[in-house]
């Protein structure tokens, strides 16, 4: 077994072990509440996969987490801890919505690329400003990006309630834009092939997310730009020696982060709600951090982790609905345990598992 494969095996085993422990403890909690943990697990999995509507919601959430997970990962490879995906998604989403409102008579084939572009530009700007402060003045990105989350939030409340809210409407949201620029929903897409599935918010953006996964993978590991970003992230002294501009790469990485986070707006606004709403991004940006960390900042890992959180969101909702003693707070607890074990305590069993795998490899 070569070194790379051993490493992959260790990483996989560590992650799986940590997830199992998180689920085990959740099970104990459920059992202590007087409910059957097995039944709870079955309900959760059934809720997430058991029927087409559940699966639709699961994948719909997954789509969001893929975008914000990738947004975190790119920054991470550049040595940044970008916790601003929340705000970047919010502002990027605003761009998507504005394009749709403005060009609602145009063909989707034109509006979609423009929406992607606007999302990259606005989300990118929202990432680039903290990136600039980091690169030129050394302001820590954790502090600045979280501040930018708040700024984004205030700006959006203002725009939505004072600019975009149609007269005589009570709620702070824009009007619905014309159906021509809606991204086809999954049941419509299946309908073209004559397959009937239940309507869910899941839409074509899901495929776009998968494409993004592949593009990010190739970008990070197969292009010179990705190479520069990784060099800056791993050893910035070596980067300077190699003539790689540290500040330019930090800003570039933050722009890509912001752009990817902004795609949440495509899924949420163009694909599902068809209007700009308050807090459409709520929590998705932060969950992206956990998704990326659990997925070890690798697109394949991010896909699996995003799916896991999709399951927890959708299955968890089902669980709190079905089982009396389990309310939505308990579902948050389960998510918290997953983050705790797979994210924060990831090194807990690392030495043991590594030792085990190395022994195995030697034989």
């Amino acid at each position: 077994m070569n070194e790379r494969r051993t490493e992959t095996l260790v990483v996989t085993l560590v992650t799986v072990t940590n997830l199992l422990i998180a689920f085990f403890i959740s099970g104990v909690v459920i059992w202590a509440l007087g409910e059957d943990p097995w039944f709870a697990l079955k309900t959760l999995l059934y809720g997430a996969f058991g029927y087409d509507e559940g699966l639709g919601y699961t994948l719909y959430y997954t789509t969001n987490f893929i975008f914000t997970g990738l947004a975190f990962a790119i920054g991470f490879h550049c040595g940044l801890f970008n916790i601003g995906a929340e705000g970047q998604a919010y502002i990027g989403g605003l761009g998507v919505g504005l394009i749709c409102l403005w060009l609602e008579d145009w063909s989707l084939w034109l509006v979609f690329p423009l929406a992607v572009l606007t999302s990259i530009i606005l989300g990118g700007i929202w990432g680039a400003i903290p990136g600039y402060f980091k690169a030129k003045h050394g302001s820590h990105e954790v502090v600045t990006t979280i501040m930018f989350n708040f700024i984004a939030s205030v700006i959006m409340v203002n725009i939505l309630s004072h600019v975009l809210r149609p007269p005589k409407e009570m709620s702070p949201e824009s009007r619905e834009f014309a159906e021509g620029v809606w991204i086809p929903q999954m049941h419509e897409i299946f309908d073209w092939f004559g397959i009937n599935i239940t309507q869910t918010p899941l839409n074509g953006t899901f495929f776009f997310a998968l494409i993004c996964l592949v593009l990010v993978w190739r970008f990070i590991w197969y292009t010179r730009w990705g190479y520069e970003i990784r060099t800056v992230g791993t050893n910035d002294t070596a980067a300077v020696y190699a003539g790689i501009s540290v500040s330019r790469n930090i800003i570039l990485a933050m722009v890509v982060c912001g752009g990817l986070a902004g795609f949440v707006g495509i899924n949420e606004i163009m694909g599902s709600s068809h209007r700009i709403m308050l807090n459409f991004q709520a929590g998705i940006g932060f969950t992206g951090i956990a998704v990326s960390l659990i997925g070890r900042n690798h697109p394949l890992g991010i896909l699996l982790a995003a799916l896991l959180f999709g399951i927890l969101y959708q299955g968890g909702a089902e669980l709190s609905f079905e089982v009396q003693a389990i309310d939505r707070h308990l579902v948050v607890l389960i998510q918290g345990l997953v983050i705790l074990f797979a994210g924060a305590l990831e090194n807990l069993f690392w030495p043991q598992i590594e030792y085990f795998v190395k022994q195995l490899a030697r034989q």
Binding site: E3, R224, T234, T237, A238, Y241, A242, I244
Partner: protein
């Protein structure tokens, strides 16, 4: 026969699969200076760490002053009368000499009391061993030679009868080193035992009574210093005959390739590191910059290679003139045909968590031959990496192996392969053989001379005087940011260079 201060019997120590010490036995006679010599990675430091309680031997016995002793921690070692002067000093920079010596031995409730007690004791020690240091001086105001003296005092204060010095002269000028050896002699005369770990044959020959040679974790020979010579020791260290002198034809310098004029550099803390330095390097010539580390050589190199900004002065490379850069620009310098083997391969020359093939393109990753329109040409990179690794004898020649998994010598060969293979016009080389085994040193030296013979201009910066002397055609000596003098290698005299390195100009001497 005199009594033994330390006797190690059949010490074994393994780190995973790596055998660091194998059946090592060593007897150090009381009241002698005993040298332990070996290449990097021969197991000297591991052995001493076992003796000082940092590592526990897998098997074997230790006897101190002819009593079987178990040493489980540095505390045990100190209790047994063993003191250690580390290669990198273990001093608190902002404390005074006295505070550093007290540290860890303070007793009772009042610090004042221990301070006074220590002060009296220190004064006695300084007088007995001629180790004069101002005990109220703050450590970071003292020159390195004196800091080392403080380390020795610290060990003596803790009651050391046996003193281990790990590569003590790495940071000293030849004069400071001589002074250290006088101190060691003094210690021996007072009945102390000294163990000197080094890879410098000159020091062994000059100071020790006995010498033990280690190679690949084993003790290969014990000799009386008076009954051996440099050549024999070198051969024992490497396990084969070594050319002590590098063969090279006389230089036939061509036209100037690099011209530096009035270069001045002040660092971020406002310290003027490089002071009005001017020199030139011609084609087909190796110019060596000698000096004790920390005298501005690193900063000078960084400015020339575009890592640090050119604040004042002028650099000309192959006719192109650069007058100022706001930030450094190493990429531009590479475009002018400069290749750079950096002083610190771990932090600068390599991204150690990247594979060999990703490291072989560091700094050249934008090269069109490595890139397709969007993605990089991975297959080509791996192929050419493999070729370069074979060419420069990097072992193992596996382009997929992570850089951190190569030995120091092979990591350095990887860096050298990357920079030399580029066919540069100007080559800037810093500490090319630091932490590299003798076999690799020979190889790298030959490559540097081959570059010169191929008509390249080579600027070599090294703190190893032997390396400067054997490779350079012209030698510049730096002290305190200035060039103290220029000497043609053929009439170089070690003593003269030593004085220049210590800041003494010819006229004054």
């Amino acid at each position: 026969m005199s009594t033994s201060a330390i006797e190690l019997t059949d010490i074994n120590k393994n780190f995973g699969n790596v055998c660091a010490n194998k059946d090592v036995s060593l007897k150090v006679e009381s009241g002698t200076i005993h040298g332990i010599i070996g290449e990097n990675g021969a197991g000297k430091s591991t052995l001493m760490s076992i003796l000082y309680g940092f590592y526990l031997a897998d098997s074997g016995a230790i006897a101190v002053q002819e009593k079987s002793t178990e040493i489980r921690s540095a505390h045990d070692a100190i209790a047994a009368g063993i003191g250690m002067v580390h290669q990198h000093f273990m001093l608190v920079d902002t404390f005074t000499v006295l505070e550093n010596v007290v540290l860890g031995t303070e007793t009772g409730f009042s610090l004042q009391e221990s301070m006074q007690k220590t002060e009296r004791e220190l004064q006695r020690l300084e007088k007995d061993y001629h180790l004069e240091v101002d005990i109220n001086a703050v450590i970071n105001t003292l020159p390195v030679g004196l800091q080392q003296r403080v380390e020795i005092l610290k060990a003596l204060y803790r009651g050391a009868d046996i003193l281990i010095l790990d590569e003590p002269t790495g940071v000293l000028t030849p004069q400071e080193a001589d002074h250290l050896f006088r101190i060691l002699n003094e210690l021996r005369e007072q009945g102390k035992t000294v163990i000197l770990i080094t890879h410098k044959l000159r020091e062994i020959m000059a100071t020790t009574d006995n010498v033990s040679v280690m190679r690949q974790g084993e003790m290969v020979a014990h000799r009386k210093t008076s009954e051996t010579n440099r050549e024999e020791l070198a051969e024992l260290m490497v396990g084969r005959k070594v050319l002590m002198q590098v063969d090279k034809a006389p230089a036939k310098p061509g036209s100037p390739m690099l011209t530096v004029k009035h270069l001045d550099y002040t660092d971020d803390f406002g310290v003027r590191r490089v002071k009005d330095v001017s020199f030139e390097v011609n084609c087909s010539e190796i110019v060596g910059i000698a000096g004790v580390s920390g005298n501005g050589q690193s900063e000078l190199m960084d400015v020339i290679t575009g890592i640090k900004p050119l604040q004042k002065g002028q650099i000309q490379i192959s006719g192109q003139t650069i007058t100022s850069t706001v930030r450094g620009n190493a990429a531009a310098m590479r475009r002018f045909g400069m290749a750079h083997v950096p002083e610190d391969r771990q932090r600068r020359g390599l991204v150690t968590s990247f594979s060999a093939n990703e490291n072989i393109i560091l700094g050249y990753h934008k090269n069109p031959s490595y890139n397709n329109f969007i993605e990089m040409d991975r297959d080509f990179i791996i192929q050419s990496c493999k070729k370069q690794m074979e060419h420069f004898d990097v072992r193992p020649d596996n382009p997929h192996l992570r850089a951190s998994l190569f030995s120091g010598g092979n990591q350095q060969k990887l860096v050298v392969a990357r920079e030399f293979e580029r066919d540069p016009a100007l080559l800037v080389v810093g500490q090319p053989t630091r932490g590299v085994d003798i076999g690799a040193i020979e190889f790298i030296h030959r490559q540097i001379i081959a570059m010169r013979d191929a008509g390249k201009a080579v600027l070599l910066v090294s703190v190893e005087l032997d390396e400067i002397l054997s490779l350079s055609d012209r030698i510049l000596v730096m002290f305190d940011g200035q060039i103290m003098g220029e000497i043609l290698a053929k009439d170089a005299d070690e003593r003269e260079i030593g004085l220049l390195m210590a800041g003494v100009r010819k006229e004054a001497a």
